[in-house]
């Protein structure tokens, strides 16, 4: 029953795309591509819910040999444990809702059908990534989602900014993927297989157990980190994060689906999947990357005015959280936050989408796009591009305000999401997941007595506060106060029901309903992590608990008995105090997080609603800090500076809001190639390589000419040659 279900889940969206593609070849198109894709998605959704019952917590391999050569076989198959199914549900659910939303949002776009076809293709790739049981399969899905994101970001490719953004996204993630591929090479060289767990002895997870206790782990740590590189690229972690904000050039539903809920979360999912092979070293690296990302992105988000960018940076920061959780060994907490975040962040994006739509997004959009089309008459001959630093008016929060009366539904739902992300206690899912992470990190720190994780806990806490601050900043600037731009305000109106309904559904999901799954320990079992350094220090029990049960509400309940009995497997007394520590940690974390969140909200209320202090004055007071945030820590300038030239960096200093690593790299390489390298090639390829040949040819020719000159035409010279020849021969061979 499992296989057919999965097949349906995978095939429905694929079919939806295939129909579009094939008809496209015949210069036709299916009358209602939108309905087709949506229905396909809903079917997949239903099937994933059916799977919920089918699957037992322990993974169960369903593999077929994909390629077999001699001893080595590459199996393709499904690795179905509870986590997989939950991911399936999340993806299909969000995807369906986005489909529905897009019916309203994308209405009237010239490439309307194609949009849905792309969405279907994306959903397929994402689902494939989620279910495959081997690195090769994951990598395939991995690259395919990358492709879809490329296509969808560049959906309005007439805009140069969009064209650049999509290329940037693809290349940036590709850099990470190469790292991932090298990691795969290392694992393959060691284990002669790429399947994670195929039921038999020779899955990577089983084989990695064999390494327990053996000192030989450096390569494993490196491999783990390299594979994590892929996640860094896809989940926009520092330092490869800069593509995600640019990705907002794509239509808003895309941002909601790909760049908030699913694809970017794939990185987290991958890291979680590879949990068993993560050594302490790699874990620490991951934790740090995550923590830093969380903080950096949050701080940048404070000063943005483009509503979508704010959300983008918030996404980056939240992803950082998840990475941090996994790095700290809180496997469940990380994935839990992934799910909750998927819902409320999707909601936020769709909400912002509805706001933008309210400002006649599309039309405004199109005029504007044509306008700037004429401006830079396709000047993009280098890989560098002059980024449109101006924020599109319909996304600029400075044009908004007081919308809550205009569009109550949007306002209400977005408020829920905001409360959820800011971690307002108990009633909202975000609180539980975020708290689980904080507790997990703190607990980890206390168990290991490692200063690193204490620091990380601090960072996470700070980030939490900032998150609350900037999220409410967004809410206040958008929905409260007086309209700043009257005529735009007058145009604004509540979105049609196709767009509102998904908002409502997501709002409901932002309440702690998902907890039921995650708190059911029979359902979700974290995989064991084999600490190869053991017996250096204590075996660490992966943290399954997501907050203590003492806070009312039955469906949050896990009895401590269960918890204790779960650790029972390992030597009890160590497990017990591990558990005790974690319990303590969670209590501390909870209190702190509530305080911090409260502070954040309060501050932003004072700043942006009561206007007790003015943001501007603060900005001027702490201008260096402010500039730092405003310029996103000069990441791009830094890369460009390194890779292109320091002089460029100076000129761009404040004007440049964008540019990126890979644009930097490729641009660097591009310029270098065309100037130095092309000169080099021009020289090397034509002079040296080609030249040698030509030189030989010329010499041959010259020789020909010489010999001609001997042929004077005077008979007596010929006779001289004859005589000379004879004499020469005799002399030479006489000597011999």
């Amino acid at each position: 029953m499992v296989i057919p279900l999965i097949s349906i889940i995978l095939l429905c969206p694929l079919a939806a795309f295939a129909i579009f593609a094939l008809l496209g070849l015949a210069k036709r198109s299916f009358p209602r591509q939108d309905l087709l894709s949506t229905v396909a998605m809903l079917a997949a959704l239903v099937c994933s819910f059916l799977l919920l019952r089918e699957v037992v917590p322990n993974p169960e391999p369903h593999t077929v040999d994909w390629i077999s050569l001699g001893k080595i076989t590459f199996a393709m198959g499904f690795y179905l444990d509870s986590v997989t199914v939950i991911m399936l549900i999340v993806v299909t659910l969000v995807s369906s809702l986005v489909h529905i939303f897009s019916i309203g949002y994308m209405h009237g776009d010239p490439r309307y059908p194609r949009f849905f076809a792309y969405l279907s293709l994306f959903s397929f790739s994402m689902l494939f990534l989620v279910v495959s049981d081997n690195l090769l399969g994951i990598y395939i899905g991995w690259e395919l989602v990358g492709l879809c994101s490329y296509l969808l970001i560049g959906f309005w490719f007439e805009k140069d900014s969009a064209a650049n953004a999509c290329k940037k996204a693809f290349l940036t993630t590709r850099v990470g993927d190469v790292g991932m591929f090298i990691g795969m090479m290392m694992l393959f060289a060691k284990f002669k297989t790429l399947s994670l767990y195929d039921g038999t002895e020779n899955g990577i997870f089983t084989l990695v157990e064999g390494l327990s206790g053996t000192g030989d782990i450096i390569w494993l740590s490196i491999a783990g980190i390299l594979i994590f590189c892929g996640a860094v690229g896809k989940s926009a972690q520092v330092p490869l994060h800069t593509w995600l904000p640019d990705a907002m050039e794509g239509p808003t539903p895309v941002s909601a689906l790909i760049h908030a809920a699913t694809m970017v979360a794939a990185g987290v999912y991958l890291t979680a999947r590879m949990f068993p092979i993560l050594t302490d070293t790699s874990s620490l690296v991951i934790a740090y990357i995550g923590g830093i990302t969380a903080l950096v992105a949050a701080t940048i988000a404070i000063v943005r005015f483009d509503i979508k960018r704010v959300l983008a940076y918030s996404t980056v920061s939240q992803l950082g959280y998840m990475m941090l959780a996994i790095g700290a060994g809180s496997y469940v907490a990380g994935l839990f936050h992934l799910t909750t975040h998927a819902f409320f962040k999707a909601l936020l994006f769709l909400g912002s989408g509805s706001v933008i739509h309210a400002f006649h997004a599309m039309h405004a959009h199109h005029d504007e796009e044509h306008a700037d089309g004429e401006e830079h008459e396709h000047d993009d001959h280098s890989l560098v591009h002059e980024h449109g630093s101006e924020i599109p008016p319909d996304q600029d929060m400075r044009n908004m305000g007081g919308l809550r009366r205009k569009m109550p539904w949007t306002f209400g739902t977005m408020l829920v999401a905001t409360l959820s992300i800011s971690g307002v206690p108990f009633l909202f899912s975000g609180f539980w997941s975020k708290d689980a992470i904080l507790g997990g990190v703190l607990g980890h720190a206390m168990v290991l007595h490692s200063p690193h994780y204490y620091v990380l806990f601090g960072i996470a806490l700070l980030a939490a506060g900032i998150t609350a601050f900037y999220m409410f900043r967004l809410i206040f600037m958008t929905f409260f106060g007086e309209p700043r731009n009257q005529e735009m305000h007058d145009m604004a109106h509540e979105s049609p029901w196709v767009m509102v309904v998904p908002l409502l559904v997501l709002a409901f999901l932002s309440l702690p309903v998902v907890n039921t799954i995650w708190f059911n320990k029979d359902y979700v079992k974290p995989p064991p992590q084999h600490h190869i350094q053991a017996p250096q220090h204590a075996q660490v029990v992966p943290d399954t608990k997501t907050g203590d049960a003492n806070f009312g509400m039955a469906f949050f309940w896990i009895s401590e008995a269960q918890a204790a009995e779960e650790e029972g497997g390992k030597n009890t007394e160590k497990a017990d105090d591990a558990y005790r520590i974690h319990k303590l940690a969670h209590n501390i974390a909870m209190v702190l997080s509530i305080v911090v969140a409260g502070l954040g909200i309060l501050l932003s209320w004072l700043f942006y609603h009561r206007r007790r202090f003015s943001a501007e004055s603060v900005a001027t007071k702490f201008s260096p800090v402010y500039n730092l945030f405003w310029n996103k820590y000069y990441f791009d300038e830094f890369y460009d500076g390194v890779l292109v030239a320091l002089t460029v960096w100076k000129s761009r200093l404040f004007a440049q809001f964008d540019g990126s690593i890979v644009d930097g790299t490729v641009n660097g390489v591009g310029t270098v190639t065309r100037q130095i390298f092309a000169a080099f090639i021009g020289f090397f390829d034509n002079r040296v390589v080609d030249g040698i040949v030509n030189r030989v040819a010329e010499v041959t020719w010259a020789a020909g000419g010489r010999i001609r000159r001997i042929q004077t035409g005077a008979i007596q010279t010929y006779l001289f040659v004859v005589l000379g020849g004879i004499v020469l021969i005799i002399l030479i061979f006489r000597a011999l």
């Binding site: 050569l69 690259e143 393959f188 993009d380 890979v662 490729v666 390489v669 090639i681």
Partner: protein, 516 residues
């Protein structure tokens, strides 16, 4: 018999075409198409009826030809050759269709030469007699010279003669090697016994027997070099590659397709068939680092790496669409060399897969370039822009081809590259890791091209550019399907040659373990 039929049907077709009156062009085209479709049919039959479970050659025919030198007309196919034969036979009709409209003058001669060329290529992949092998190898030269030289672009004469001279130079060295092999083919422990032979299977077997002159290390190393240079020019391997861009830029579309699709594969096929299978000792010398071989042990893998990186960077520097594709194929052939250098199952499988896939993909790319060129009459990448709006289908297919070529998983390009690298990593970790640069740069230049040609605002010059037509779609669709199918289910191709590969690699690995 079937095999011989397939090889010589195009030759027959050539004769028929020559007998037709030069005025009736449509008829000539149709006849040519027919005579290229028959081999395709036969190739498919072979492909299906080929017994995948064994490594040995099948369908072999051996008829005495020149007894004086004990030369036989000996042909047969194993998994590797049947795959490439299928590729060749498939590209045949596609190229005829591709030349349907854009060959103005001398269509008769063009088609005749093309058919001759096809016979040469098919024969080459089937030949099991070293002499026959060489004759077919050279047989492709003359038609190619004329096809580029007569129907090519402005600098066609230069390109044609350059191609000819390079290849002839290479094959001359190869000829010496062949003669040397032949003369030593009956020497055991210094005593000549029995008749000399050109029979490749026999030679392979003798080269493996202890004390046989062919089994001698130094001998194998020298002969290896002879053959290698011969094939390296065809592949082309740096630094013998400079003929390729010129030839591609000048050649008409269909010929570029054949050049990239099949002729380059002749080089790598030769490397597998001769250098690896017959000369494992030589192979070992150039692919295993010991205190004896020293740096020579890196040479082959290094060449592969250089091809990858050098080709990719050159491609990045190009602004001529066709030159870009040409350099990209230099880069991609690098993966083949790298995989072969690895010499293990994964690597070699990857290499062979890459041969086939590159054949398909580069064919697509050149066809696409041709489509654009026929409309805009130039290939300057920067001269386009925003075509994505004007010709969506064309854009779609191009995107597919580009993605396949830059190794997007799920499309055929990926598996070949991935396996070559996976295999290479076990033997040459550093070079394998460095070669991944090629992947990123590959993505860079293809996406950049995609952006400059299709994205952004439409260049007003091309408001009226017509969309790709039915015939052109027809040429592209089969290749596109292959790309996707092989991406999803590569085993469909791999099972053809996996047995042969296993046998080959066990031999190579054995040699590597042994004396070196």
């Amino acid at each position: 018999m079937l095999l011989s039929l397939m090889i010589f049907v195009p030759l027959l077709g050539m004769i028929v075409v020559l007998l037709l009156p030069r005025e009736s062009e449509e008829l000539i085209k149709r006849v040519t198409l027919l005579f290229t479709l028959i081999p395709l049919l036969l190739a498919v039959v072979l492909f299906i009826s080929y017994d995948r479970s064994t490594a040995g050659t099948q369908y072999f025919v051996s008829v005495p030809w020149i007894e004086t030198f004990n030369i036989n007309y000996h042909i047969g196919i194993d998994g590797l050759s049947v795959t490439l034969i299928l590729l060749t036979a498939l590209l045949g009709p596609i190229c005829v269709l591709a030349s349907w409209r854009n060959i103005e003058k001398g269509i008769k001669a063009y088609m005749a030469l093309f058919l001759l060329l096809e016979t040469g290529m098919l024969g080459f992949f089937a030949a099991l007699d070293l002499f026959l092998f060489f004759v077919f190898f050279e047989l492709t030269l003359l038609p190619m010279y004329f096809l580029i030289g007569v129907w090519g672009g402005p600098r066609r004469e230069y390109a044609a003669i350059k191609f000819f001279l390079y290849t002839l130079f290479g094959s001359v060295l190869m000829l010496v090697a062949i003669i040397a092999v032949y003369l030593n083919s009956n020497v055991i422990n210094g005593i000549a016994a029995g008749a000399r032979t050109f029979d490749i299977p026999t030679l392979i077997e003798r080269a493996a027997t202890e004390g046989h002159a062919l089994a001698d290390r130094t001998f194998q190393i020298w002969v290896f070099l002879g053959f290698f240079i011969g094939f390296a020019v065809k592949v082309p391997i740096f630094p013998f590659h400079t003929w390729l861009p010129d030839a591609h830029v000048e050649a008409p579309t269909a010929i570029s397709v054949i050049l990239a699709g099949v002729l380059l594969k002749m080089g790598t096929y030769g490397l597998v068939r001769i250098n690896m299978d017959m000369l494992p000792e030589g192979m070992a010398f150039f692919t295993k680092v010991t205190e004896e071989t020293g740096l020579w042990g890196y040479s082959l893998a290094l060449l592969g790496f250089i091809n990858i990186v050098y080709g990719s960077f050159c491609a990045l520097a190009q602004t001529d669409f066709k030159k870009l594709v040409a350099y990209s194929s230099i880069g991609h052939m690098g993966f083949v060399i790298l995989g072969l250098a690895a010499g293990n199952e994964v690597g070699v499988t990857g290499a062979i897969l890459q041969m086939f896939n590159h054949g398909v993909i580069s064919a697509m790319l050149f066809l696409l370039v041709g489509v654009l060129y026929d409309r805009a009459h130039h290939r300057e990448i920067n001269g386009f822009g925003g075509l994505g709006n004007r010709m969506p289908i064309y854009t779609g297919i191009t995107t597919l081809a580009f993605m396949a070529s830059l190794g997007l998983p799920g499309l055929s390009g990926f598996i070949g590259e991935a396996f070559s690298l996976l295999g290479a990593y076990e033997r040459f970790p550093t070079l394998a890791i460095l070669s991944t640069i090629g992947i990123v740069v590959g993505a860079a230049y293809f996406l950049w091209t995609l952006q400059r040609v299709f994205l952004g605002t439409l260049n007003p010059k091309y408001e009226a550019l017509p969309e790709i037509n039915k015939r052109e779609i027809l040429t592209l669709v089969p290749l596109g399907i292959l790309t996707i199918v092989l991406g999803i289910w590569p085993h469909f191709a791999i099972e053809m040659f996996s047995e042969s590969v296993v046998e080959l690699t066990t031999k190579i690995m054995g040699t590597l373990q042994a004396n070196l």
